[in-house]
Amino acid sequence: MIVELGHFALVLAFLVCLVQTVLPMWGARIGDTRLMCVGEPAALAQFGLLIVAFAALTHAYVTSDFSVANVYANSHSEKPLIYRISGVWGNHEGSMLLWVLILALFGAAVAAFGTNLPETLRANVLSVQASIALAFLLFILLTSNPFLRLDPVPADGRGLNPILQDPALAFHPPFLYAGYVGFSMAYSFAIAGLIEGRTDAAWARWVRPWTLAAWMCLTVGIAMGSWWAYYELGWGGWWFWDPVENASFMPWLAGTALLHSAVVMEKREALKVWTILLAILTFSLSLMGAFLVRSGVLSSVHAFAVDPERGVFILAIMMVFIGGALTLYAWRAPSLRQGGIFAPISREGGLVLNNVLLTTATGTVLIGTLYPLALESINGAKISVGPPYFNSTFVPLMVPLLLALPFGPLMGWKRGDIHAALQRLWVAGLLAICAIVAVFAVVQRGPWLAPFAMALGVWVIAGAISELLVRVRAGNADSAEVFRRLRNLPRSVYGTTVAHAGVGVMVLGITATSAWQSEKILTMRPGETADIAGYALTFKGVAPDNGPNYREVVGVVSVTRGGQSVVDLAPSKRQYSAPPQATSEAGIYVALLGDLYVVLGDEAGDGAYAVRMYFNPLVRLIWIGTIIMFIGGALSLSDRRLRVGAPRRARRRGPAAVPAE
């Protein structure tokens, strides 16, 4: 019954979407306020209905209702509760439902908080947003309905892929989708702006918080996926340039560019036409990501659906929304007025450089991901484009970006002074040079470029902090004055500093672990000891153990350093029952300078086992850096100027200032 209720709510949501797509936009066209007003209640109703549908499916998963085909195919009664819940989106149908739910959440947020938007803009935005939901709801109802029943009811389910049964991966998709779908706001605003032929600084101010929120979610989502790969896949890699990873990375790169170009548009009314295009492209890349992953074009762990019918449907959705948007853009963009002239050396110039490099990087990842598919369909030639290609094209694009990064915020708008910026950055430059010398002195192995890359990280961090210090004129004023200024700085300034410093921290982590990872692969008998990175690891043997839905062999490895006991690690090999599959769980010890990472391999007879041990220096900085970037985004979002909730204050005062309409 509850399942049918969910199904019914899903169909109703589709109908509400239909109304929300047509009426507000039509109202905006003919200037009818009553029609435009349909948008808000419809957006809220659509969100409410989708919550009902999602809750119904979750209920079926939690209670292991195997009469639902989707639950049968992806769940199992022995699964722990958290994975029965995460199982809802751990499959194609459920993840699409989550996708539209988040889409509706953003639409409802515009309806609830967008009260200070001009009436027609809000109506158009809500209509465009609903049209996206409409397409995806149709897709779910026609090709991927999660509410279909089975008769007779099977005794138990087939279970969820065990490598998806993991805390980080359980919450990786919701964040990722919040990011992907969050960019739909930028898209909807771009389309609405093009329809109205009016985009200005105010438009950018409305778009920026949504983009920032989406960017933050995507950052966390990607970081979680990479963190999961690091400890679960068993060899300490954290990024593989896998097509599915690229599918999430491209919207992130484009979204990062969009965040920066929207600043120029907001502050200086420049780069309008470009910012609109970037908004369209960012969400288009999100749609393409959905297509690549959902259609099974690239089969990998993530591509649960190998079904051409669905692929063709999503391809059609993609073509309508990307093609339609670009056509509208080509038609209306020339009429948008360009403003704000600036010199090449200026804050705007810096942000343009940022955009050029980030979009080129996006284009490079795009072509690298699609090239093998395209080439094979053109002349049947099969080639592989793997990590070596991406490393040798992406990294050279990031180096100038990181070199230039500290200059940007120190430049004035319109016309900057590069000499003044250089003078303010001398401390950062000095620290970077010290870093090169220090790294060469301390680590006397590895690639010769690595110390320079470390220096780049230091340069970015120190440069970000310098900017803050320059702003409060530390050094030229007494400390009380400096503290007063620090207090009065807008949060968005802190946001910039923190996010940029996070990038630097991440660069340090990536460089250190890529350049100086140490590795030992050997067969160990119980009682044998091996040394790695100053630690002595003694293999004590293995012991069997049982989990809720798996059996495992747990190795005991005790770690000492200089005769002192450090930790006992327990790397294990698991055998899941439903579906039958083996996974390995690494034993990880987190030291100050890096991770000691031990993996248990196959048995080699006589109680001996293959053991892999790695020392990954500073690897945690990669994820700490992304968390810092997230915090930077959050600081910026909490700035009074940008706060999503700020309009609520305005509404209280509204009636006094604005006469009744």
Binding site: N116, N161, I163, D200, A201, A202, G234, W235, F240, W241, D242, P243, L298, S299, S300, V301, G339, G340, I341, F342, P344, V352, V356, T359, T360, G363, T364, I367, G368, Y371, A381, K382, I383, S384, V385, G386, P387, P388, Y389, S392, T393, G412, R415, I521, L522, K573, Q581, S584, V599, D602, A604, A610, V611, R612, P647, R649, A650, G654, A657, V658
Partner: protein, 163 residues
């Protein structure tokens, strides 16, 4: 037809392989000579496990990946140079085995795209700069036209009445 079904089997195989835990290099494969082993690793990073999704042979526990790892080491021990090993593998398995596609006519667009995009951007910006050269950039002076001023004023009124 045969090729098609073979590919279908490969897809199924790769799904199984990709979802199992990856164990990669086994202790008994490692060469006693560290210099040769380092070269083997360097080569492996650029060699694709043919039945996997985008995994190098070092990262995969598929039997075929193991065969390739052993083959690479066999050739190195026999005295082949890195280039000779790569050539040997390409002759045997095709370019598909290389994770870094070599520059050729069929990969020209792949390698040129980053450069072309940068040139396009530089060209676009250069064109805008030339076009804007006549216009005076004065920080103290308002560059807005009367029309824009009016709109700005209405916008400011909008904002102030709302805050």
């Amino acid at each position: 037809m045969i090729e098609k079904s073979a590919r279908a089997i490969l897809v199924v195989l790769s799904l199984i392989v990709a979802s199992a835990a990856a164990y990669a290099v086994q202790p008994n494969e490692v060469l006693p000579d560290p210099a040769l082993e380092a070269r083997a690793r360097g080569l492996s990073a650029n060699l694709r496990c043919l039945v996997c999704q985008n995994q190098s042979i070092d990262d995969s526990d598929a039997p075929l990946a193991r065969d390739l790892r052993l083959l690479v080491r066999e050739r190195l021990v026999a005295g082949d140079s890195d280039a000779e090993v790569t050539r040997f593998l390409v002759a045997r398995y095709g370019e598909f085995v290389l994770l870094r596609p070599p520059l050729g006519w069929h990969t020209l667009m792949l390698w040129l795209t980053p450069v072309l995009l940068l040139m396009l951007a530089a060209g676009g910006i250069g064109w805008r700069l030339v076009k804007a050269r006549g216009q005076h950039i004065a920080p103290a002076q308002s560059p807005l036209t009367a029309d824009e001023q009016a709109r700005l004023a209405s916008l400011m009124k909008d904002t102030t009445s709302r805050n």
